[in-house]
């Protein structure tokens, strides 16, 4: 990897910027991560991206750790650490300073306005995330059925989604998809 420092710098810049755009959670920035990793920099295919998202969802820990996996696929362990620190560091530093000024956040009018204004945008972005992952993951009828079944189980029953993830992995392992 002769251009590894250049790649690390790209990772650092992209994820530092992205950390400020993740409104209402890291999951809202997934479509942009997909665009960068697949379309702009050609670090991976759309299918690989969906698989990394799936691994991050199945493993314990905050959602933001998807960036660790992306960074690692691009530039090994240094890439994983750079992506993780840059996705958390700069934006959290700003958040930390802001939090000191807002001890009584919930009561202020601005808080209510910000919340009311940002929620519809982040809902749309989570929907975009779901669409992009589904389009990359569902390559035929068997995978479409798994997606539909997992949605139904998660949305209309109290069964833990972990069972659905485990069952789907086994179905895939048995060669049915």
């Amino acid at each position: 990897m002769k251009d590894s420092s250049g790649t690390l710098l790209t990772l650092a810049l992209q994820f530092s910027l992205l950390s400020f755009l993740a409104i209402g959670g890291a999951i809202t920035a997934l479509p942009e991560m997909h665009r960068q990793a697949v379309d702009v920099y050609h670090w991976m295919t759309s299918t690989q991206f969906a698989q990394l998202v799936a691994i991050a969802q199945a493993a314990p820990g905050p959602n933001v750790l998807i960036v660790t996996l992306i960074g690692q696929q691009v530039a090994g362990i240094p890439g994983a650490l750079v992506a993780t620190v840059c996705m958390c560091g700069p934006a959290c530093a700003v958040a930390f300073q802001t939090a000191r000024a807002f001890h009584q956040f919930k009561q202020s009018r601005w808080a209510i306005v910000l919340q009311a204004g940002l929620i519809p945008v982040s809902v749309g972005l989570v929907g975009a995330t779901a669409l992009i992952v589904a389009r990359s993951a569902d390559e035929g009828w068997p995978t479409l059925l798994i997606t539909a079944a997992t949605f139904a189980i998660t949305h209309w029953t109290r069964i833990s989604p972990l069972w659905a993830l485990g069952a789907a992995t086994l179905i895939g392992l048995s060669g049915l998809v």
Partner: protein, 188 residues
């Protein structure tokens, strides 16, 4: 019965730096598919570091600050309780072990991900993860739909621009966020 009567009323416990590390470590490793539910359970119910109201207030603040919500939460809470050492302990507890686990999983993926068996398993897992994400999106959209057509329109524009047309996020947010906040301001 007597013990129940004599039990002290629920009081707030002030965690030490070690408690902060261990508490956020527990939240991180229990939190499959996001950690909010576990954060509430560990911090409010098990450790009694905050009341439910205090938790909601701080979490609401973290949601509207830039950066990953739960990382903001651990940083701000750790620092309010124990200064820089507390902030460091809380963030390391939350992020350290899961990051190490992710790197391990990532190495396995790099090494074995292309094998035929793994490809099948990963295809199944990814399809299920997509279903999980759709469920998250629908649960978020349902309450929004009850708040009027304007909110739904803004969400739909964000969805189409970023999800269908795959436009860059920065441009979409630069237009949509001021518009949506201005609309909320007029209605408040």
């Amino acid at each position: 019965m007597t013990e129940h009567v004599l039990a002290p009323p629920p009081t707030i416990v002030v965690p030490t730096t070690t408690d902060l590390f261990l508490g956020f470590f527990q939240i991180a490793i229990s939190g499959f598919g996001g950690v909010l539910a576990w954060a509430r359970r560990v911090i409010v119910q098990e450790c009694k570091w905050m009341t439910a109201d205090e938790f909601n207030e701080l979490f609401a603040l973290c949601q509207f600050l830039p950066g990953p919500n739960i990382v903001n939460f651990s940083l701000i809470y750790g620092s309010r309780i124990r200064g820089p050492a507390g902030a460091t302990a809380a963030v390391l507890g939350l992020m350290g072990p899961p990051t190490a686990l992710m790197i391990l999983l990532g190495s396995l993926y790099s090494r074995y991900g292309a094998l035929p068996q793994s490809r099948g398993a990963l295809a199944g897992l990814a399809a299920a993860a997509a279903g999980l994400l759709i469920s998250t999106a629908v649960s978020m959209a349902e309450p929004l739909a009850r708040k009027g057509i304007g909110n739904v329109l803004i969400a739909a524009v964000a969805f189409v621009a970023v999800g269908v047309l795959q436009w860059p996020l920065l441009g979409v947010l630069a237009v949509l966020v001021p518009l949506s906040i201005a609309r909320a301001w007029r209605r408040s």
